[in-house]
Amino acid sequence: MNSVLFYFFSVLAVASGVLMVTRRNIVHSAVFLITALLATAGIFLQLQAEFLFVVQIILYVGGIMVLFVFVIMLVNLDVSLHLMQFNRQKFVASILAFVLAAQVFVAFWLGRNSLSVQPARLMEPKNTEAVGQALFQRYMLPFEIASILLLVAMIGAVVMAKRRV
């Protein structure tokens, strides 16, 4: 059952990823990106990381992608439909892709002994509590640094977008 679910979600994610790149219409691309994100969320759920599953949906699907779609709809689609979609350097691209794939394969092959396969287990205390404790106790400093970085970026965006504050 578990592996069936895993393969279902993986195939869904990869297929919608491919469809996303090859569609001419950007709104269709956005829809397939959403399906890919949802399929990834499904894999999180299958690994019993239900907090990550929910956060993935709320943040990426419910937040970021809504803004993406919002912006795409304001763009004039007719122009983009007639643009050349792909660069014509197929030869270089395929070599690069092959090298990258070989690199990943070698990394996995060399680490095959250290990467042990463990069945996913339910966290105790519960998932959400575990994430909270890790963030606010063990990794307090990195968490705060990240949040200050985000705050700075946000203030920067507001200042740039609005000249008269």
């Binding site: 709320i58 699907v61 419910g62 803004l67 709809m73």
Partner: protein
């Protein structure tokens, strides 16, 4: 009954059963909420509302559904057919999916997820795609404008509503819907009384999220024809409508669970018994309510003008008597059955009360202009919600450390502080408007 079912499928049987019941009953429920809406509107405008189909229009929803089913399904010529077909389906699916984690009673719940609340929020935030994609796919300016307004509005108000929920979550200390209700029982008070400001913020946010007046700009009929639904007709249009009303029930359920004590009856910790029996005094209230409605139906049945209407009115009365009998019979059944039935009654009663306030607000307030809507969200609700979260957090810590036990004391303290903050924000807003040049106002 459990021994009849093979153990391998046992965990799924009741979930599937509940799922089927909800999916089957919800369209009917949505239809009747529409009828209630029309009736309440008529009452507030000193009219009668639907009266012709059935006594007092009681069969109107069924006639409407039939009409919508057999209407022609028109697709605009230059529409994006794929998205145009699927957008309404998406809207309804996401609204229905959210019911998976809603506890209608201690027993009647499809799945008790330990991230239940987040799950519901995530699913209902995906419902926006039904509106946005449908509006875009129609290839019409009105639809697109409605979709864009909807996206902007939802993103803004989701933040405020979510922060409003956080204040209740901090009191409950759990994301599981069941445990949130249990926490309200243990603390002996509904969270709406402890964090009234959080409840208010969620209430406003939930009106905006369901696109209802005074925040119904995505479908403002005086400006955008019908917003994102302009090009839809027949059954697809009905699906959008179903999605909207299903969403109203979802936000009502969230508010009921977090702020209004879920399936707990009022005064849940008062265990006074009926004289000489083992039945709790307050548990006979539902049966008495149904009997009252039944008596009223029988009384008005005589005054109906047509024979068939008299019969239907009597049937309604009989239904209420049966429900009263069920409520009474539940008192003598095992505690689990009794809690299940009465819990569902109280839960639905609270949800309908919440929806009634929605209708009330709709017919009371004029529609906001779009910039006013955005300013209300970003300049007023979100700062208020942020301060509210901080104040409630500090209060909880104070309670834990200083033995400051009485919950209502905390409620009073937070309310006073929040009123001060709200007044400050309103003042700030006023000055901001006055300092703006006339052209930008």
């Amino acid at each position: 009954m459990n021994h009849l079912i093979p153990p391998s499928i046992q965990p799924y049987v009741f979930s599937v059963l509940y799922g089927i019941v909800i999916v089957a009953l919800l369209p009917l429920l949505a239809g009747y909420i529409v009828l209630v809406e029309r009736k309440v509107m008529a009452d507030m405008q000193a009219r009668l509302g639907p009266m012709r189909v059935g006594p007092h229009g009681l069969l109107q929803p069924i006639a409407d559904a039939l009409k919508l089913l057999i209407k022609e399904d028109i697709v605009p010529e230059k529409a994006d057919r794929f998205l145009f077909w699927w957008a309404p389906v998406l809207s309804v699916t996401m609204a229905l999916l959210a019911y998976a984690a809603i506890p209608f009673g201690p027993v009647f719940q499809i799945a008790d997820l330990n991230v239940g609340l987040l799950f519901i929020l995530a699913i209902s935030s995906m419902g926006i795609y039904g509106i946005v994609l449908g509006g875009w796919a129609s290839n019409s300016h009105y639809s697109l404008l409605g979709a864009l307004r909807s996206a902007a509005q939802l993103v803004s108000y989701e933040t405020a509503a979510g922060l409003g929920l956080v204040s209740a979550l901090m009191l409950a200390g759990s994301l599981s819907m069941k445990e949130i209700v249990q926490a309200q029982y243990d603390q002996g008070v509904w969270f709406a009384f402890v964090v009234p400001v959080g409840f208010f913020i969620y209430f406003v946010g939930s009106i905006a999220e369901t696109n209802r007046a005074p925040f119904d700009l995505p479908e403002a009929e005086s400006e955008l024809v019908a917003g994102y639904m302009t090009e839809y007709s027949g059954f697809r249009w009905a699906l959008y409508f179903l999605g909207e009303y299903a969403n109203m029930v979802v936000v009502g359920s969230i508010a009921t669970t977090l702020f209004l004590g879920g399936w707990l009856r009022p005064f849940a910790r008062n265990h006074d018994l009926l004289w000489g029996t083992s039945i709790e005094l307050l548990d006979i209230v539902p049966a008495l309510l149904f009997l009252g409605v039944a008596a009223y139906s029988f009384w008005t049945a005589r005054r109906q003008p047509v024979q068939i209407q008299k019969l239907v009115m009597v049937a309604v009365g009989a239904l209420c008597v049966v429900l009263a009998a069920v409520m009474t019979a539940a008192l003598f059944a095992s505690p689990a059955v009794m809690q299940g039935i009465h819990g569902a009654f109280w839960f639905l009663a609270k949800v309908f009360g919440y929806i009634y306030v929605f209708l009330w607000v709709r017919f009371t307030f004029p529609r906001y202009r779009f910039d006013q809507l955005m300013r209300l969200g970003w300049h007023f609700l979100i700062p208020l919600a942020l301060v509210n979260v901080i104040v409630v957090g500090v209060t909880i810590v104070l309670q834990q450390n200083w033995e400051w036990r009485h919950p209502m004391l905390a409620a009073v303290a937070t309310t006073v502080i929040m009123l001060g903050v709200a007044a400050f924000l309103a003042q700030e807003e006023k000055q901001h408007q006055e300092s703006m040049p006339a052209a930008e106002r």
